[in-house]
Amino acid sequence: MLSTSLIVLIPLLPVFSFILIALAGRRYFPSLCGILGTLSLLVSFILAATVAYDYFFLVGKAGETYQQIIPLKITWLRFSPNVSIDMGVLLDPISVMMIVVVTLVSLMVHFYSLGYMKGEERYATFYGFLGLFTFSMLGLVLASNIFQIYIFWELVGVSSYLLIGFYFDKPSAVAAAKKAFIVTRFADLGFLIGILILSFYAGTLDFQTLILRLTTPTDQLHNIATASFLGCSVLTWGLVLVFIGGAGKSAMFPLHIWLPDAMEGPTPVSALIHAATMVVAGVFLVARLFPIYAISCPPALDVVMWVGVSSSFIAAIIACTQTDIKRVLAYSTMSQIGYMMFSLGVSRYGGENGLGYMASMFHLFTHAMFKALLFLGAGAVIHYVHSNEMKDMGGLRKLMPVTHLTFLVACLAIAGIPPFAGFFSKEEILQAAFHSNKAIFGIAILTAAITAFYMFRLYFNIFWNKNFHAHSESHESHHGEAPGTMLIPLVILGLMSVCAGFIPFGKLVTSDGKALLTEFNPAFSIAPVLLATLGIIIAWSFYKKESLAPQRMANGLKGLYTGAYNKFYIDEIYIFITKKVVFNLVGRPAAWFDRNIVDGFMNLLATITGQISFLIKKLQSGKLQHYASYFFVGVIAFVMIFIYLWT
């Protein structure tokens, strides 16, 4: 049975570990902090797995439908009898799936960091931050109302900021942390306004009531769905604003600029936050409010779809040209999240139409596994090579056999080669796209081929290509592959990447809670698999050995290549807009107004006061007898007044 206290312990254990490390552990037992954090996460994961089992197989179903269960609800702030903010736990298929994903990946990352972060000066602090992040993420997915999700959303942003800027003595890390924080904060502004719009019209913050009121056709709903503001209905605006918040966190075009820079953080952090968990928060948010999007407001869903598919495509192209392996992975993350987004976008509510929703959640699950694996594998490579650049790598397959094998599995999974996990989820997404919008399907399948190409470009560049030249003679002797604590998570995640695809997701996670039977259609999957294989073959021919072919190719497509290499100048556009346009047109006039009008008025007052006091300060001569005579004259004057005027 579901026990409330056990469910509450899942998010609370990591935060206990955070508090303990922050208050005592950092000072008194820094070397044990890693084990403490890992153990708390291990218990958390076991609890989450138990809850998932109970929910999916024992208590979650009422009849044929998975129910939303609220095991805990506390009134937190009560403003009036009708308006209050609650803190609660909401269990439904997606939140249960997410707690499993978050605790599993976080556990793997905790375990991996025992080896990876060993010897770091701020080792204990690192585990403290990881605990804080895990707590925030779990709170986010379990939130039972939209305000609670917003609180945890910001907490996640803060812990992400702390972890990106972990090496705060590196200026680039500090800049990246600030960039991530500011860009996501900017997007969160949209989210907050969206929350206010939705909750104002629905009259509640609670998810269940909110969804119920905004999907039941009533006069009021009709009013806000048709009332027009700048060409769109109020409801559309609200939902699009909420989506902007989600797009900021999920690094959707054009708010993605922070994600590649966020790779300045330690690699396990990139695996946890910027690949598997935090960046899918946006997808989760749209999925959480999905009934409103799908039933009441399809135009907003179209926005989600186009943003998703364009991010997916652009990121895939950029990923082909990057040379920093973590940046390649960052763009591939963005591309895969784009997949999840447009998959939600093409979906509709209920039954067969909900295929996209289910596919999106499925892809979220499998992607978390293989992307965490890719990042951890890249971490092991970086640990070995001491560099992020592809040109310093090559020929590592003999030197790092376990990493090589697991990395290959993850690459096959993300490329969508059967029978690895990514194949199944990507297949569902392509089918959903095929049934609703052929243009989207076309872009998606092209992106799938590009994905296979750049992932195997990465793979061949790291593990094949030229022979590895250690940067010093002693490198070989002191350096084996990676320690066991780093290899075990790789193997576990590798196994998950192989078999996660066989989970019958259609029965468990669907838009309306009813089981959705998806027929596996071999004929349909021929084209995507062939295209992916083609991508792999091209990558193989280019990068298996050192050759000039990639360079010739790059020269042939000069404009496109330079554009993609420079990330299509989106960072430059941002800088142009902020520095040139915003600063010159808004900032400078405002500063001028502040300096000359506001300050000028104050300065005027001060000058007048100063002048007057300059005139009368002569009275304060410092001579005793002057004071005495003023006093005497004053007394005489008072006496006169009292005698002659006071009658």
């Binding site: 410092g622 001579k623 005793l624 005495a628 005497f632």
Partner: protein, 104 residues
């Protein structure tokens, strides 16, 4: 001959008071200023005695006050002379015009 009445006493007291005030405001020497202050105090004493004698001959309150004031004046003179000595040590003069640092 006239009897010496209240008016005469008040005249003397008033004259003494203004002589004291004039001295206080015009002299630069602090000892002289202190003496002027004593004059002012004594004019008040004369006032007290005179009013007591002519208006309430059966009471002694005015006399008490006068004795009080004389006592206090003695103490005050001691304090004032201590201040003057300090001033002299700091400025090498007891001219109040020189001690003018307490201004804007």
């Amino acid at each position: 001959m006239y009897d010496i009445g209240l008016f005469h006493f008040l005249f003397v007291s008033c004259a003494l008071f203004f002589i004291g005030v004039y001295g206080f405001l015009t002299r630069r020497n602090m000892i002289t200023m202190l003496m002027s202050v004593e004059l002012i105090l004594n004019s008040v004493n004369i006032n007290f005695i005179a009013f007591n004698k002519f208006l309430f001959p059966d009471k002694l309150d005015g006399l008490f006050f006068t004795i009080f004031i004389i006592t206090i004046a003695a103490a005050e003179a001691a304090v004032a002379i201590a201040i003057i000595i300090n001033l002299y040590r700091n400025y090498n003069t007891i001219d109040v015009e020189e001690a003018n640092t307490m201004k804007y």
